[in-house]
Amino acid sequence: MSLADAALGLIMVGLSAYLLFGGADFGAGLWHLLSRRRTDQEVIEHAMGPIWEANHVWLIFVMVMTWTAFPPIFADVMSAHWIPLSLAALGIVARGSTFVFSKADPDQRWYPWVFGVSSAVTPYCLGAVAAVVATGGTTWWSGTGLYGGVLTTALCAYLAAVYLIWDARRLADEDASLRFRGYALVSGSVAGLLALPGAAALGVRSPLILLSAAAGLVSLVLLVRRAYLSVRVTGGLAVVAVLWGAAEMAGLDLDAAAAHDAVLQAVFVALGVGAVILVPSMAWLYVLFQRGPEPPARPAPEPRPSRH
């Protein structure tokens, strides 16, 4: 295996993680918008990251890896699709900031709206670009782009609903949990109905489609049977297999684009050293975060001093 292959592998790992975790965050934002029930919204707010949207780290990782390891591909994709990608970047700004703002200032009504809308716009734009790159198309403003955008948004919504069933049980009540199960069943069926005919229309001939379809069907069964933790695995697999299938389709000339070996070696060493520090730190944060689901000693709401 060449160093370029290893770099590609890391980029795929990063993209998969971004889809599985960041994608679920987007989907959670979408459900936050669609479900006007306060219980559901509270579950979503608690289930998402502690301070900010840490999962965007995966996206930054993918971008840095791509411009370092395959600079011409980064340049081509970013310049050709600058409009949807700029919209996605602004969507990330809007989401990330309104997420913390609405926690710090819950009275402001428009923060949740912006949060919800940008949660749909961002995966749509990213998915449209991904579909166009995978199929060798030219613009997001095409049937393929539209399809990729809608499909990605649906996949994110599905993932979020699947993950939130268990969170709702942990943080709220059985009713909320059942509602998210309903959302998961609906969005999972929609995503499956979008993915399979789409793959056929785009001429995808990959065993990954069968894998995705099988995992999706198993997930629906598990949802019906209320196996909420196992469905997280099969649901994630069904979604991420779509990404892998798309990557397989993309005819990118990686060897011609690859950076020099000295660069790749330096990056791998940096990542290795980083992982040694990052993994235990993250584990500690996770343990601490799980220790109490409720923020401790939240003060009773006091009358705010009059503002002038």
């Binding site: 301070i51 900010w52 949207e53 840490a54 965007h56 780290v57 996206l59 930054i60 971008m63 840095v64 890896m65 411009w67 370092t68 390891a69 600079p71 980064f74 340049a75 994709v77 970013m78 310049s79 050709a80 600058w82 409009i83 990608l85 700029s86 970047a89 602004l90 990330i92 700004v93 809007a94 989401r95 990330g96 900031s97 309104t98 913390v100 703002f101 710090a104 200032d105 402001q108 030219t138 613009t139 403003w141 950076a259 020099h260 660069v263 330096a266 990056v267 940096a270 990542l271 050293v273 980083g274 990052l278 730190s281 944060l285 601490l288 000693a297 003060p299 006091e302 705010r304 001093p305």
Partner: protein, 460 residues
């Protein structure tokens, strides 16, 4: 241009001059925005730790409350800084694809390291925020230390890339293709030490003076209302002292930076100092003043030394001298004003410690001036940033690649600028509004601490 072409963003050739200028302005604006948040991201955790350290040693409730409030504000600002930083990574590709295509691999390692440092900072920020009531006080304090260290490291790694753009090293160009890449040589280019130290001091000054400004306003209100609020006094003293310590150091580092530029980027230096003609015994010009031979004397310790002027630079390689000179002068003037206020603060403290003039640090004229230091420090930092960035023009990579060559050729970039301006204006307004809200929200009393000063309740 047709609507369809705008919507798809398809290229028809080179970027138009309007799009080129818009791309530069968008980069400058978004970076200028991010740099303020990044400064706070570096400085505010440090201030928080100072306050928490004092509260651990003395059990003082005021210090504990300040630490809590500062870290909460740091959490919000960190989130905004994280997303405004993400935008910059997008812009590297959407605005300057040819720069990334050709040189992305040369400086990519620095960004990988920056990403790691940033992630560590984020994780420990989470541990620190969530661990407040779940860890022992000492352990909690220690979890804040990696936040500060990782913040400093991540700022330094990013800075190595900008230094590299000024002093490109670690690669060879063979037939226009990049070969023999040495990532470490690129990272540790000659400009890295001076730029990193200069920027880190600047960011600590920005954060210190900004936070101090907030409490200076509070102290002025207290004064008007005839109150004496220790919360505001401590809240002012810690950050203002941080800024005041950095101010004189920054003058020394600034001097180092000017000498470095004079030796390594003569066009930038000529623009900064307004030197038009190469000659012996250059005068020092500042605003409307002119001192004969002084520039030569200051730079070379020889009143008759020859310094290169703009006429030594080919016409096509000259930066816009007026912008560079004006922004450089603004930075110097504001830096000196901050230094003077820092000196007064030091003198006032010294006299107070000796038991004289106890009211000296809290004179109204000083508080009024101190209330402006936050804005002054931000403007000084932006002016310095403008000096180094515009002074490097017309190059994106000094002497190697012109900014024009780096631009995305697709049409319509200027519309991107307009949208970004609107979004960031709303973002800035919302951030300020949220912070003001947080300031007015009562904080839960710190358990097991000495009773808070009673007058504090009425103060806010």
């Amino acid at each position: 241009m047709s609507t369809a072409a705008l919507l798809t963003g398809a290229a028809h050739g080179a970027a138009s001059p309007a799009d080129f200028m818009a791309a530069r302005q968008q980069m400058a604006f978004t970076l200028g925005f991010h740099i303020v948040l990044a400064s706070i991201g570096v400085g505010l955790p440090a201030l928080t730790l100072l306050a928490e350290w004092r509260s651990l040693r003395t059990g003082d409730a005021v210090h504990a409350e300040l630490a809590r409030r500062w870290m909460k504000a740091a959490g919000v600002l960190f989130a905004v800084g994280a997303v405004s930083g993400t935008v910059l990574s997008f812009e590297m590709g959407t605005l300057w694809p040819n720069f990334m295509d050709k040189y992305g691999q040369v400086f990519g390692t620095a960004f990988a390291l920056e990403g790691i440092a940033f992630f560590i900072e984020a994780i420990f920020m989470g541990i620190y925020l969530y661990g407040w009531d779940r860890l022992s006080p000492r352990a909690h304090f220690l979890t804040g230390v990696p936040v500060v260290i990782a913040g400093l490291l991540s700022a330094s790694f990013v800075l190595t890339v900008n230094s590299w753009m000024n002093q490109p090293r670690g690669f060879k160009l063979v037939d226009g293709k990049v070969t023999d890449v040495d990532p470490l040589a690129a990272m540790f280019n000659p400009a890295t030490p001076v730029q990193a130290v200069h920027l880190i001091l600047a960011s600590l000054m920005v954060c210190g003076f900004l936070v101090a400004s907030v409490y200076a306003v509070g102290l002025l209100r207290d004064r008007k209302a005839g109150r004496d609020d220790r919360y505001n006094r401590v809240g002012f003293a810690i950050p203002f002292s941080l800024g005041a310590v950095c101010a004189p150091l920054q003058v020394i580092v600034g001097d180092w930076a000017v000498r470095f530029v004079a030796d390594n980027q003569p066009a930038k230096f000529a623009a900064m100092e307004g030197v038009e003609h190469t000659r012996a015994g250059q005068p020092f010009r500042f605003a409307v003043f002119e001192i004969p031979n002084a520039l030569s004397l200051m730079l070379k310790f020889d009143a008759h030394a020859t310094l290169r002027g703009m006429d030594a630079v080919p016409v096509g390689d000259r930066p816009p001298a007026e912008v560079v000179k004006t922004s450089f002068e603004i930075m110097i003037a504001l830096g000196m004003a901050l230094l003077a206020l820092a000196a007064w603060w030091a003198l006032a403290w010294w006299l107070r410690r000796r038991g004289r003039a106890l009211d000296l640090p809290w004179r109204p004229w000083f508080l009024r001036a101190a209330a402006l230091t936050g804005v002054m420090a931000v403007v000084a930092m932006e002016a310095g940033w403008t000096t180094t960035e515009v002074g490097r023009q017309p190059w994106i990579v000094y002497g190697v690649m012109r900014t024009e060559e780096a631009i995305n050729p697709n049409p319509g970039l200027r519309y991107g600028l307009y949208i970004v301006l609107v979004v960031y204006a709303v973002l800035a307004a919302a951030t300020v509004s949220v912070l003001r809200r947080m300031r007015h929200r009562p904080e839960p009393a710190v358990p097991a601490a000495a009773p808070a000063a009673p007058e504090k309740e009425t103060a806010r």
